[in-house]
């Protein structure tokens, strides 16, 4: 809330724009890009830019967001804090805790003893990034990752925090990030939805995900996230009824088109021809979606890379593999949600299994994209909605503890899409409670994602009920240090 200052960081002019191009992009890439004249004085209204065209040369074309729903504990995964072990059981100093508000779950706790991680950490790669032993596969690809340890948010409960990360506002009813990108950049693939959603669930304490998270809000519903699920009907209502083969469906659609055309001849309403086109798109989706869902043509090496679970539909591993295929086929935004990271108690047991669930496949996705030459143009994001406290929630015993919600700092990683590989950005204090260096607000993070996609977050606007809305609401600045 205190970030209500408009940043004008990306006030481009032509000269800056051109110099950016000459530095950042090969001329071959430049040739094929459509760049509208944003800078001339003649355009009618610069906030009504035709959607479907980037504001400037993009670095990434597609996003795969591996959302870790429930808020993974950074102290057990990336944010190595030996001091916490040293101070195990001691009360968190009031100077560190400050006036931070607490959730109702720990607000009445009599004491707030610090708790060190049960798991060990080691440094990896050329970046020497610390990664916990729970993430052996992720540890191997740290040189491809940009680990941000200084994310922070404004919300302290799951629903508003998730909604905030996805839509830029804690209250519902605004478009999700994927919807904004679909609106801003249009579709690369005419047979698949532009924004797809894949759900999976780990064994840990779960928090719901809900379709409002992939809502188009006030944007046209073609920008709505389309959930792909396991089972025979990967997209709702996709499958033709029993007994209706492709030939019969084609027949039906041909009849339908002719009948609709008669109505068009009478009424002249362009909506009628639009409807016919939507039926044809639906028909193409009926073939394209099962094709993309079919993992049988994947090589043994790929299966090995993602792990055997990737052949079990609905698992995180299967969804990662599917995400690659969707993205490869031009789907602009693939949003995964993996539930089960809400370790208020019993953390050491739950998080170990939860981590095992996602480690191999997350790393495999990055490796797979890289070996296909797609990582440069695909931005992969991994992370949850907030962090967890350095003190225990509930009782601290020799081998068990929990951690409560913590909005002040958390860790995410990004890979590809023109983000600097092999860096660790931002630091928390030695107790992992406050950010010590380079804070990144959720709106900054969103602004950076849009920037990588060639969109100025202050210009990607939709006017609704008299107000101009943005994904980044009224704040946010691109974090240039993260950009390669």
């Amino acid at each position: 809330m205190e970030k209500e200052i408009l940043e004008h960081g990306f006030n481009f002019n032509r000269r800056r724009f051109l110099s950016r191009l000459s530095l950042g992009l090969g001329s071959a890439a430049l040739g094929s890009l459509m760049i509208p004249d944003l800078f001339g004085g003649n355009s009618a209204d610069d906030d009504s830019l035709p959607p479907g065209i980037p504001h400037f040369a993009p670095k990434a074309k597609r996003v795969i967001y591996l959302f870790q729903n429930g808020a993974p504990s950074q102290q057990e995964l990336f944010d190595y804090k030996p001091k916490l072990r040293a101070m195990m059981g001691q009360e968190i100093p009031p100077s560190v805790r400050g006036t931070q508000r607490l959730t109702g779950m720990t607000a009445n706790q009599a004491s707030f003893p610090l708790v060190g991680s049960f798991v060990n950490f080691q440094q990896y790669g050329q970046s020497r990034a610390w990664v916990s032993d729970l993430f052996p596969y992720t540890a191997k690809i740290v040189d491809d990752l940009c680990i941000v340890k200084s994310m922070y948010t404004e919300a302290i409960n799951h629903d508003p925090a998730l909604t905030f990360l996805q839509t830029g506002s804690q209250q519902g009813n605004r478009p999700s990030m994927g919807s904004w990108l679909s609106y801003g950049l249009g579709n690369e693939n005419k047979n698949l939805p532009n924004f797809t959603v894949l759900l999976s669930r780990g064994i840990g304490n779960g928090q719901g995900v809900y379709s409002k998270l992939w809502s188009n809000g006030f944007l046209d519903s073609i920008h709505q996230g389309v959930q792909f699920s396991k089972g025979e009907d990967p997209v709702l209502y996709l499958r033709d009824p029993e007994g209706m083969d492709r030939h019969a469906r084609r027949d039906m659609l041909d009849n339908l088109a002719q009948l609709n055309d008669m109505a068009y001849q009478e009424f002249g309403d362009p909506e009628i021809t639009a409807k016919v086109k939507q039926y044809e798109m639906a028909y193409r989706m009926q073939t394209a979606v099962p094709e993309v869902m079919d993992l049988s043509k994947e090589s043994d090496d790929i299966i090995k890379l993602y792990g055997p679970e990737c052949l079990v539909p609905g698992t995180f591993a299967a969804n990662c593999l599917l995400a690659r295929k969707l993205s490869e086929n031009g789907v602009r935004f693939v949003q995964l949600y993996h539930q089960g990271w809400d370790q208020h108690g019993n953390l050491p047991f739950e998080i170990a299994k939860q981590a095992k669930d996602v480690d191999q496949a997350s790393a495999a996705l990055v490796t797979d994209l890289k070996q296909r030459g797609l990582l440069d143009e695909t931005l992969v994001i991994w992370g949850g909605e907030f962090g967890r406290t350095s003190y225990t929630q509930g009782k601290l015993t020799a081998d068990n503890y929990g951690r409560d919600h913590h909005p002040r700092c958390f860790t995410i990683w990004m890979a590809g899409g023109g983000i600097k590989p092999g860096i660790v950005y931002g630091e928390t204090d030695e107790l992992g409670y406050n950010i010590a260096q380079n804070p990144v607000h959720v709106h900054d993070f969103q602004a950076t994602i849009l920037h990588q996609m060639g969109l100025n977050h202050e210009k990607l606007i939709f006017k609704h009920l008299g107000r101009r809305y943005r994904l980044t609401d009224v704040s946010g600045k691109v974090v240039n240090d993260l950009i390669a």
């Binding site: 809330m1 205190e2 209500e4 006030n11 009618a44 209204d45 610069d46 959730t103 109702g104 607000a107 409960n157 799951h158 209250q171 519902g172 009813n173 759900l199 669930r201 779960g206 928090q207 719901g208 995900v209 809900y210 379709s211 409002k212 046209d220 519903s221 073609i222 699920s229 089972g231 009907d233 997209v235 709702l236 209502y237 033709d240 009824p241 007994g243 209706m244 083969d245 019969a248 469906r249 027949d251 039906m252 009849n255 002719q258 009948l259 609709n260 109505a263 009424f267 002249g268 309403d269 909506e271 639009a274 409807k275 939507q278 039926y279 639906a282 009926q286 409560d404 009920l465 008299g466």
Partner: protein, 774 residues
């Protein structure tokens, strides 16, 4: 460039107060666009200021740059703070008006709006401002904040066309634009439109036959009266109110547990059916508990203000959520009833409209004394299905007084309603800095935005007084806003397109005189809703054919001038109703607990915390499968998918206008949803049991579904399709095709014919015209 001249000012003064052409602004930006002879502040200039200038030079004191305020004449003409010899505006002299110089300069360091704001004025807008200054830079109060006066009926050339007053205003605009109205729609199309608009259901065969056979002059009016008496009218009218009042069957938020708020929904249907007038209808909902000798029914009506989401997530900070409930009510009052976006003033002074943050919290104060807590209980059993304050509805009450509540069993039934704290324990209201729940500023007393209408000191300072203020005939918004909502229901778009925002950033009315005439007429007829509905649907404007000629498509693509009838895809719930009704499956029960019809498996299970009654979807069976779409249970976090695909509201917040999109997912629903397939099978079976030819069966199906007799060619094509399918379909394939839905298949039926006919019927359901009001 013209020199400034004073005579223009005289011209301007001469016609001040009359409204100008309505299509300035967004729709008409062509190079050739002409400047109006007289530039209107309200219709030409304010939209520019509001959109491009007021964020920094407007009502928000905290964001004001250079101390300059352009929305108030006095401030704009004052010497500039930074340069006392200069003035932002000098009447008649653009060349001395700093504001004009700064918007027209080539120097980007001086240019306004600054390039960094990403805002820019077009050349046309700059010329408009120049001309307005030349003409005296005369300010007017925002049109929507001036109480409407009943304008005289305008003169029209085609005097025989109008059927009632609406038509004079509409035709006048058309004639100015060189347009003329379409002829009346054919009777079949007209009846379908009317039936869908008044009942949300397609006309029955009986009604079609009756209407077609009735050649009397008032045949149409008779049909209108008949449909207005149909109890489905109440259901149809309730739907938009349920969106506005964000009615749902779950509490929302993380766990999204079940709630029993449906008796309030039953009341809304009842109220529309007995034609409760709008002032009473809303007063009961706002303040039924505060009325003298308040009845149980009046208390139930106040459920309106408790339909908002309520958290059951353990660990939240209660006050944060309690504040959000009060905020939700305040915003609903603003958007739904007043048509202004009050929520902007939740965190700061409104940037465009003259509402201060203080005024927001004064309005907020009316809703801040409810005997409620931020979190009453975590997700649990029946005791959590309503939150205090609540009312219990006994079986005796259902039998005697609340007869419209469709209570199916003898279980305890509770509903969340309003009820304030006793005066000695009442809460104080403070301005919340930046809108944050734990950052109270100055204390405020209940009050209303003075720019709309000051609060009459004789009114009690509670919700009842607020309702009196709302229905004060001097209130410039209430009637206009509701009249506009209804117009939107019948004509597809409001006269003010932004039906939730009549403020300065909202769209201007396309026909301001018509809006005002309707609003004043509505008030002077004591807010009679059915009368207003009848007025709209009996107008010649409404009865026009929906045919779009290429000329009209070019001149008026959005049908702003209403020179053709409305042609729109019907809302999600009515798509389902049409399918069920035409197939004969529809269960006409009104009200009661919401139902769980067919839904693709795994949706609730895949997106849940795993807690509570709604964590798994247990589908209903039998008659409950065939209830109207509006009775489908709405779980807020996973709303019914086939409805969401057709743009139904997720009921998160007040919604006054649905999108009307057209997507491939909608095609998939119509082709593959078991609801549609089952209806196709059932209708096909009904038809096959009649002793008629195939083409007669197809004709009947077409009439039932599309609402008109098919053309010969249509029957030929569909009959040929039937014959082909019958020939090609194989027995096992037919059996598979029939195995959809739970409704039984008649034993004696020819299953090959049934499968073939089912495909034909399903094809008719998929016609664009079927789910379109034509």
């Amino acid at each position: 460039m013209l020199k400034w001249s004073f005579y223009l000012i005289c011209v301007f003064v001469g016609i001040t107060g009359t409204f100008q052409a309505c299509n300035t602004g967004s729709s008409n930006r062509g190079e050739e666009e002409k400047l109006p002879d007289v530039v209107s502040y309200n219709f030409d200039i304010r939209p520019i200021l509001s959109d491009k200038c007021l964020a920094c030079h407007g009502p928000d004191a905290n964001k004001r740059e250079a101390g300059l305020r352009l929305d108030i004449a006095e401030n704009a003409f004052k010497a500039l703070q930074e340069n006392p010899t200069a003035h932002a505006l000098v009447a008649g002299k653009p060349e001395l008006s700093e504001a004009y110089l700064r918007i027209s300069t080539q120097d980007t360091s001086l240019l306004m709006p600054p390039p960094s704001s990403n805002l820019k004025l077009t050349a046309h807008q700059i010329k408009l401002i120049e001309k307005w200054i030349k003409q005296g830079a005369k300010y007017e109060k925002h049109w929507a904040f001036v109480a409407p006066k009943k304008p005289a009926l305008p003169e029209v050339d085609q005097k025989e066309w109008p059927k009632n007053e609406i038509d004079y205003f509409v035709l006048h605009k058309q004639e100015q634009k060189g347009l003329s109205p379409n002829e009346e729609a054919d009777k079949e199309r007209l009846l379908k439109r009317l039936s869908l608009d008044l009942t949300g259901l397609p006309p029955s065969l009986q009604l079609m036959d009756q209407f077609m056979a009735d050649n009397s002059a008032n045949a149409y009016e008779k049909a209108v009266d008949q449909l207005l008496k149909n109890p489905a009218y109440g259901e149809k009218m309730a739907l938009h109110w349920l969106d506005l009042a964000r009615y749902a069957d779950s509490h929302g938020y993380q766990d999204d547990g079940y709630r029993t708020q449906w008796p309030w929904r039953d009341w809304v249907i009842h109220a529309f059916n007995k034609n409760m007038h709008y002032n009473d209808f809303v007063t009961w909902q706002l303040a039924g508990d505060l009325l003298p000798n308040s009845t149980k029914e009046q208390l139930l009506a106040t459920g309106f203000n408790r339909n908002h989401k309520i958290t059951e997530e353990g660990g939240v900070i209660p006050e944060e959520y309690r504040i959000s409930y009060v905020t939700d009510r305040t915003d609903l009052f603003g958007k739904g009833l007043l048509g202004v976006t009050m929520e902007c003033a939740h965190c700061h002074d409104h940037k465009y409209d003259p509402f201060s943050q203080k005024e927001y919290y004064q309005l907020f104060a009316f809703f801040n004394n409810v005997k409620e807590v931020g979190i009453e209980s975590v997700i649990g059993g029946p005791e959590t299905y309503a939150k205090k304050p609540l009312m219990e509805i006994s079986d005796a009450e259902v039998k005697n007084i609340l007869t419209f509540v469709n209570k199916p069993d003898t279980n305890r039934l509770i509903v969340s309603v309003m009820g304030d704290l006793e005066p000695d324990t009442s809460r104080k209201t403070y301005i919340l800095k930046r809108g944050v729940y734990d950052a109270p500023g100055d204390e405020v007393q209940a009050g209303t935005p003075s720019s709309i209408l000051p609060f009459n000191a004789n009114y009690p300072k509670n919700r009842l007084g607020l309702a009196q203020w709302l229905f004060d005939k001097k209130n410039p918004l209430t009637a206009r806003v509701y009249v506009n909502l209804l117009w939107q229901e019948f004509f597809g778009k409001g006269i003010v397109k932004t039906s939730g925002d009549f403020g300065m950033q909202g769209d201007l009315p396309t026909n301001p005189e018509l809006l005002d005439w309707l609003a004043v007429d509505f008030m002077s007829h004591n807010w009679d809703i059915k009368r207003l509905v009848k007025q709209m649907v009996t107008s010649a404007t409404y009865r026009q054919s929906a045919v779009i000629t290429p000329e009209k498509l070019k001149v008026d693509p959005d049908n702003v001038y209403l020179a053709r009838g409305p042609r729109y895809r019907i809302p999600a719930e009515f798509v389902k109703d049409l399918v069920l009704s035409s197939s004969g499956l529809l269960n006409r029960t009104i009200g009661g607990p919401s139902v769980k019809p067919y839904q693709p498996p795994g949706l609730w299970e895949g997106a849940t915390s795993g807690r509570g009654l709604l964590s798994t979807y247990v589908q209903d069976h039998g008659a409950k499968l065939y209830r109207r779409g509006m009775y489908t249970l709405i779980k807020r976090t996973v709303p019914p998918p086939s409805m969401a695909i057709f743009d139904a509201s997720n009921r998160d917040l007040c919604e006054v206008k649905r999108l009307k999109t057209n997507t491939p997912l909608q095609a998939l629903v119509m082709m593959n949803d078991p609801t549609v397939l089952e209806a196709s099978r059932v209708l096909a079976a009904n038809l096959l049991q009649e002793k008629t030819e195939a083409k007669d069966k197809i004709t009947k199906a077409f009439r039932l579904i599309v609402g008109r007799k098919p053309r010969e060619k249509e029957v030929e094509m569909l009959t040929a399709y039937y014959e082909k399918e019958l020939k090609e379909i194989k027995k096992p394939v037919a059996e598979k095709a029939l195995a959809v839905g739970e409704y039984p298949i008649p034993a004696q039926i020819d299953r090959m014919k049934l499968a073939a006919m089912m495909r034909v019927v399903s094809t008719i359901y998929n016609l664009e015209e079927t789910i379109t009001k034509t």
